[in-house]
Amino acid sequence: MNTSINEVAALARKAAKGAGYSWSMADEVAFATTWLCRNGVEAASMVATHLDQISNIGVDALKLSSLTFPWRGTEKGLCSVSAGAVFSDLATEPDVQSTELIDVVSPMLLIPFVAYASQRLVKHHNSLTIEDANSNKLACLSSVNCDSFSANIAAVENHAWLHGLTRHNASDTKSELISDKKLSAGITHCTMKTCAIEALNDNPKPARHRLDIPSDTLDKLNHYASLTYAPATEASREGAGAGTTDND
């Protein structure tokens, strides 16, 4: 189904709550979904897969346990949304600018938080990379074209260059370093760290406004979202509206 990004984000938010996140963390899932979709990534399916894991394993088992390095959850893994949210909270702090993560579940969902962090680091002339255990770059996020820290998200979406994650960058040689497969599947070890700003792409794509959601993804997200809906009762029907006819 072809949808607006707002629609996908609203659905992802409800689905995240239905799968077990708090509403606060569901907001973060919606943020990540919006960012990826606006950058041309079909994030709905990634989110649906991620929510399966959250639903199966439990939010608390995957939650970032503390700020002690390296960041980890439990033996079940580390939720990328949980880690990403905290990473963006502390983006300007020197101590998190080289952050190792262990056993990240759905690492693609880290990207929006790292992109936001990179935007906040612009004034320090830094961008952020995500590297695997062998120092291979998985993603590089930079927002050099943003004029200031207060540049709005539309600017970030236009200028945070996301390599190896979207097909339109495939011709970029640097993207060979990056494995989107690894980011989608889950990784055992990665590090988010600052690097000197690199102008990786001179032709950033404009933000996207539409997304085609595969029907199985839509079904799954609708299923999780439906867990937030209260079953209808007589009392609830009576509570909706003033009356049943509009003939006056």
């Binding site: 990004i5 707002n6 629609e7 509403w23 606060s24 909270d89 209260a230 209808a232 909706a240």
Partner: protein, 531 residues
């Protein structure tokens, strides 16, 4: 509404009706196109033959007298066919990125039949009957911003051919309703012609102008107010800034005061026509009527040479009038000063809240102070009492619409929507108490991610001082209609008429010039009826 009519007049928008294919039974479609600098938008309207028993004012209805979509550009025959297959279904259909809104309206059966009967027999309808109802049709939803597949606001704003046309929040929704009103006037004339043929006449322009479009609004609007604190704060800040500017005028002119006096008389007429069957609103209307009489005396007696005339008036209103009267005068006294305040309408968008995430380096102490600034009052509430948490906002499985239930009487607690920021703020403050308040709030949030919303809102509040409702949105005595009115008032809605404690009717565009009569002279003050 007035921002839009001013813009349309100033930019000389051109309106046309490329299609009006409605049959003898009132079934068919019509297209109304508004051409603005840089683009076009078209209302695609479908008229249906709806049996009376299916006419419901609730958002959960499934059929309507008329259904609409605002199309970005001019629709082709294929577009109209596609919309024909989807728009009449409303929520059950899908629209596309070419559409900006989705809406529907039902007749006021009583008034519709009277007007059609009268016109078909060559008579104008009874003026009092028109005033009593105020509209021929009322909408029950005007969906925008990406709902049901439509273009979202970000797409709209990124359209570089008209970066400012629809920058103001809800401007596409307001344009939709403006064009619906034109269609409804044409439709009633058409119905009268089909019935009376050579005997029929058209509704006179003066009577038509007095009619608006009604709107029935329920709980769906209330969550918006809570979920968009920065936007709402920007709306209220614009109003407050306008009031502050006018209060700071040291010397007013005779003309300024005279123009407010004339508008006061028109406001008295509006109040006279404003009816409600709801006891609370009746009481408020009686107080407002009395207030306006008092203001009339005040204006007659006060010297124009009084320093800071409007400031003095405001202080006097605070001492002598009900809240209704005070708010009314706070709006009326702004009217002579368009040049001083109209620019504030550009500050009513919210371009930043989606870009500003939590600053986790803030200390817990600073964050908790920010929370207390908005919600300090809520720490005095006994949140363990059933009264304080009696209500619960939830979404029903049946129709996916927001509802408000009784937490301790219905099985809804597990499905609660996050619409009680005051309760959540106190919970966050309590959780912070055992923490070293010099620590970074990010450390607190690692352990308590469920409080991220409260922390985010608190940080926004430092730049959005009016963003939080200073009341308990789940209290047993909470009246949702007050939330609805707050939002509707910024649209410029009039004749606020609660139908219950959670359902209201209002009127949009009564008195507004129709497209063919719109000009810069009549684009602004039409909201005040002329005797």
């Amino acid at each position: 509404m007035r921002q839009l009519t001013r813009r349309m007049a100033a930019e000389q928008w051109q309106f046309s009706r490329p299609h009006f294919n409605i049959d003898e039974n009132g079934v068919g479609y019509a297209v109304y196109t508004a051409a603005y600098p840089g683009g076009k938008a078209s209302l695609v309207a479908f008229a249906h033959d709806l049996p009376d028993e299916l006419r419901s004012d609730r958002v959960i209805a499934e059929q309507w007298d008329t259904t609409f979509s605002l199309f970005n550009g001019e629709p082709t025959a294929e577009d109209i066919q596609r919309l024909q297959n989807n728009v009449p279904l409303q929520e059950a259909g899908r629209v596309s990125e070419s559409e900006l809104t989705l809406s529907r309206a039902n007749r006021s059966v009583r008034l519709w039949e009277h007007v059609v009967d009268a016109l078909s027999q060559g008579n104008q309808p009874n003026e009092q009957a028109l005033h009593d109802v105020g509209y021929l049709m009322r909408t029950t939803a005007v969906y925008g911003s990406g709902k049901f597949g439509a273009a979202d606001r970000e797409q709209l704003k990124s359209d570089l051919s008209n970066p400012n046309t629809f920058k103001a929040p809800f401007s596409v929704e307001m344009l939709t309703v403006y064009l619906i009103r034109t269609f409804v006037r044409d439709l009633v004339n058409h119905a009268a012609f089909c019935k009376g043929r050579e005997n029929a006449i058209e509704l006179s322009p003066d009577l038509a102008r007095g009619l608006g479009i009604g709107n029935s609004t329920g709980l769906g609007m209330a969550p918006f107010l809570i979920n968009h604190p920065v936007l709402i704060s920007n709306w209220i800040s614009a109003k407050e800034e306008a009031i502050a500017r006018v209060r700071s005028i040291e010397q007013v002119t005779d003309d300024d005061v005279k123009s407010v006096f004339i508008l006061l008389k028109r406001m008295q007429l509006l109040t006279e026509r404003w009816q409600s069957a709801h006891p609370i609103q009746q009481k408020k209307l009686a107080a407002l009527t009395n207030d306006l009489d008092q203001v009339e005396q005040y204006l007659t007696q006060a010297s124009v040479n009084t320093a800071f005339y409007w400031n003095e008036l405001t202080n006097w209103c605070e001492q002598h009038l009900s809240t209704e009267g005070q708010e009314c005068m706070a709006s009326l006294m702004l009217e002579p000063y368009a040049e001083m305040i109209d620019g504030l309408s550009d500050c009513m968008d919210d371009p930043i809240s989606s870009t500003l995430r939590i600053d986790g380096t803030q200390t817990i102490e600073t964050t908790s102070e920010l929370i207390k600034t908005s919600f300090g009052w809520a720490t005095d509430i006994n949140w363990a009492s059933e009264k304080a948490t009696a209500r619960c906002w939830y979404v029903s499985e049946e129709k996916l619409e927001p509802r408000l239930g009784e937490r301790y009487e219905e099985p809804i607690n597990d499905y609660e929507q996050p619409l009680a920021p005051a309760r959540d703020a106190v919970a966050a403050l309590n959780a912070m108490q055992s923490w070293d308040n010099k620590k970074r709030v990010a450390e607190f949030l690692v352990v308590h991610p469920e409080h991220r919303r409260t922390v985010q809102r608190a940080q926004w509040s430092s730049m959005a001082p009016y963003g939080e409702i200073r009341d308990n949105t789940i209290d047993a005595s909470m009246l949702p209609i007050d939330l609805l009115r707050a939002k509707l008032s910024f649209f410029g809605a009039t004749r606020f008429d609660p139908r219950s404690d959670r359902w209201v009717r209002i009127c949009l565009y009564p008195g507004a010039p129709y497209p063919e009569e719109l000009n810069t002279d009549n684009a602004d003050l039409w909201i005040y009826p002329d005797a």
